[in-house]
């Protein structure tokens, strides 16, 4: 038999950071490979992570491809496998296979303005692009990041976002007003309309809860963004990551191969089964 495409590599948990606490907690895991293992990836790609005895889950790679020493994943506790991840300690060993899926066409975006719009844990899939763009700052023009959570405690990557300031325009928001919060109060799409980013020579990249994405896209279009200028990612239930198991099938596409990155021009051609 040739390569075993279902056999994961082993990776060690090198660092764990608690991003958000509570019922829908988010933790960020840094995974390192021993003995020259690992793989290269591109912005937007995913990997299938395993905890043996629990199963596998497809998670976006949240670190920039420029970082080769480790891969980073921000995981919300929602189910069987992700809950097991939240029980892990530094030094534990997990399984990983990938990378899977397509990627954001970052090279084609050089020389353009980038507008990132994230909500909840939807910052993770677009984070590698932000990191890459900041690392290669001179290649891009204005970079703007809109990001919002339900409350100040739901803002992930808080310290990293603050560090971006100067290189990037950062516009944070929370859904409901709270004492001590002096940035925008309201939903992310509203914050977007308040700041009115210009569509000229710009690309908008959005990820977050489906309802947020829906209104962000509507608002971007009303700001003059063309369908081809808007990018998002979709995440259906996946089992194989290899375009075979059929779980993530939407229209003719197996999202694990043809996605998860789509321009709105491409995505609106698919059935809305995501």
């Amino acid at each position: 038999m040739g390569d075993n495409i279902y056999l994961p590599q082993l990776a060690r948990v090198a660092h764990i950071k608690e991003e958000v606490a509570g019922e829908r907690a988010i933790k960020t895991f840094r995974l390192e490979f021993d003995n020259g293992g690992g793989f290269e990836h591109e912005c937007g790609q995913c990997a299938m992570l395993s905890i043996f005895g629990r199963g596998e889950s497809m998670i976006s790679i949240a670190s920039s491809p420029l970082i080769r020493d480790y891969k980073q994943f921000s995981i919300m506790r929602v189910g069987r496998v992700t809950s097991a991840f939240h029980e892990l300690a530094v030094g534990d060993v997990v399984g990983i296979r990938g990378p899977y899926g397509n990627s954001f066409p970052v090279d084609a975006w050089r020389g353009k303005n980038l507008v990132f719009i994230g909500g909840g844990c939807g910052l993770a899939p677009i984070w590698p692009v932000i990191q890459t763009a900041v690392a290669q700052r001179a290649d891009f023009r204005e970079i703007t990041v809109f990001y919002g959570g339900r409350s100040p405690r739901d803002i992930m990557y808080r310290a990293e976002l603050e560090k971006l300031r100067g290189a990037v325009d950062v516009h944070l928001s929370v859904d409901k007003a709270e004492e001590g919060w002096d940035a925008f109060c309201g939903f992310v799409p509203a914050n977007l309309m308040a700041k009115q980013p210009a569509p000229d020579n710009a690309i908008a990249i959005t990820c977050g809860p489906p309802i947020m994405i829906k209104y962000v896209i509507e608002n971007l279009r009303s700001l003059g963004f063309k369908d081809e200028q808007i990018y998002t990612t979709i995440e259906n239930k996946m089992k194989c990551g290899l375009g075979k198991c059929g779980r993530c099938n939407v229209g003719k596409d197996y999202v694990c191969v043809k996605g998860p990155v789509y321009s709105w021009a491409e995505l609106k051609e698919l059935p809305a089964e995501y």
């Binding site: 019922e23 829908r24 506790r77 929602v78 189910g79 069987r80 992700t82 809950s83 097991a84």
Partner: protein, 342 residues
């Protein structure tokens, strides 16, 4: 003999007057000569209803459509739903009433008596008339009458009838708002006849038999899906990921026990079928649908019959006999010999 036109008129009338919001019955299908389930809402659709030996389905299933939502009621503005029911189907409706899925006023039972016959077993027919694929089937009292391209073919009913019908306890629907057909004497097999025959085989042989049967199961879950009594939100075989709502917590999902693996291995298949049989004890009305739909021909009725007979012998209980009786596992008698319950 059942007057089909009278049945159609009845269905049209109760739709016309608004007494019911829909009638669940059978119409001509496109899968060979077989009838297919249909829910009609307009009086003029009543003309499409049929009654013949291919009306195998136990339509009580659709009273708990989409697993436990008294579905048709929601669709039809809170009006009662009518259901065309054979004797066994009516017993299933009775069990659902006993288990409080809906009230007696929510369902209107149009009973159809199987009289001296029963429904067709297509696998038997393929053996009795090999190579013949009839265009239609009818009863003539003693025989199935098949319309074929080479004229009519008659087959004695008992040769091509479902096993469940041979052993039928009550071919005339006792629970009904209106009933078509007569309560006629039947002279087929005694109840549990096949079970008795099977039990005479040595234990080792029976175990071998069941191992072979369960080895074959492909876990398509048609037996569960077709069963009116298998309405649980959460089934023992679905402990992996069914019934997740936005309110289900991560801990609940993570902690769900996987009693039975997804693999169609013999051990897991036995676990599935045994659990299902036990959950049907005192509830299964022997409509035999699980056995009919099984694509690999596992004789599931033997299991369910066994449980049914246990309930009958231990407690004198007959599932679906009357809506005035409590459900078996929800009832208690002062003279119960079990001490644990006191």
């Amino acid at each position: 003999m059942i007057d089909l036109n009278a049945l159609r008129t009845q269905a049209a009338d109760i739709l016309e007057t608004g007494e019911v919001g829909a009638v669940i019955g059978w119409r001509r299908g496109s899968r060979g000569m077989a009838a297919e389930p249909v829910a009609i809402v307009a009086p003029e659709e009543a003309a499409s209803l049929v009654w013949d030996p291919t009306c195998f389905h136990n339509l009580a299933l659709y009273l708990v459509e989409e697993r436990k939502k008294p579905a048709q009621r929601q669709v039809h503005g809170g009006k009662p739903i009518a259901i065309v029911a054979k004797g066994c189907d009516a017993r299933a409706v009775t069990v659902l009433l006993q288990e409080n899925h809906f009230g007696r006023d929510d369902v209107y039972v149009i009973g159809v008596s199987c009289e001296g016959t029963g429904v067709l077993d297509e696998r038997k027919l393929a053996q009795v008339l090999p190579g013949v694929e009839p265009d239609g089937a009818a009863f003539d009292g003693d025989n199935f009458v098949f319309a074929t391209s080479e004229g009519e073919r008659r087959v004695p009913a008992r040769e091509a009838m479902m096993d469940r019908c041979l052993e039928c306890r009550n071919a005339h629907p006792k629970l009904n708002n209106v009933v078509f057909g007569e309560e006629t004497p039947r002279d087929f097999d005694a109840p549990f006849a096949a079970l008795k025959r099977f039990e005479q085989r040595p234990a080792a042989e029976r175990w071998q038999f069941w191992q072979r049967q369960f080895e074959r199961c492909i876990r398509c879950f048609a037996c569960r899906s077709v069963c009116p009594m298998c309405y649980c939100d959460e089934c023992v075989v679905d402990s992996i990921n069914l019934v997740v709502t936005p309110e289900t917590t991560a801990a609940e999902k993570a902690d769900r026990v996987r009693w039975i693996e997804r693999s169609a291995s013999r051990a897991d298949n036995i676990g599935y079928h045994m659990t299902r049989a036990l959950h049907l004890a005192g509830r299964c009305v022997d409509c035999g649908e699980c056995e009919r739909v099984c694509p690999v021909n596992i004789p599931l009725r033997l299991l369910n019959n066994k449980m049914e007979r246990e309930a009958r012998e231990a407690f004198g209980y007959e599932p679906g006999a009357s809506i005035d009786l409590p459900a078996l596992v929800a009832s208690f008698r002062d003279d119960d010999p079990g001490q644990f319950i006191r």
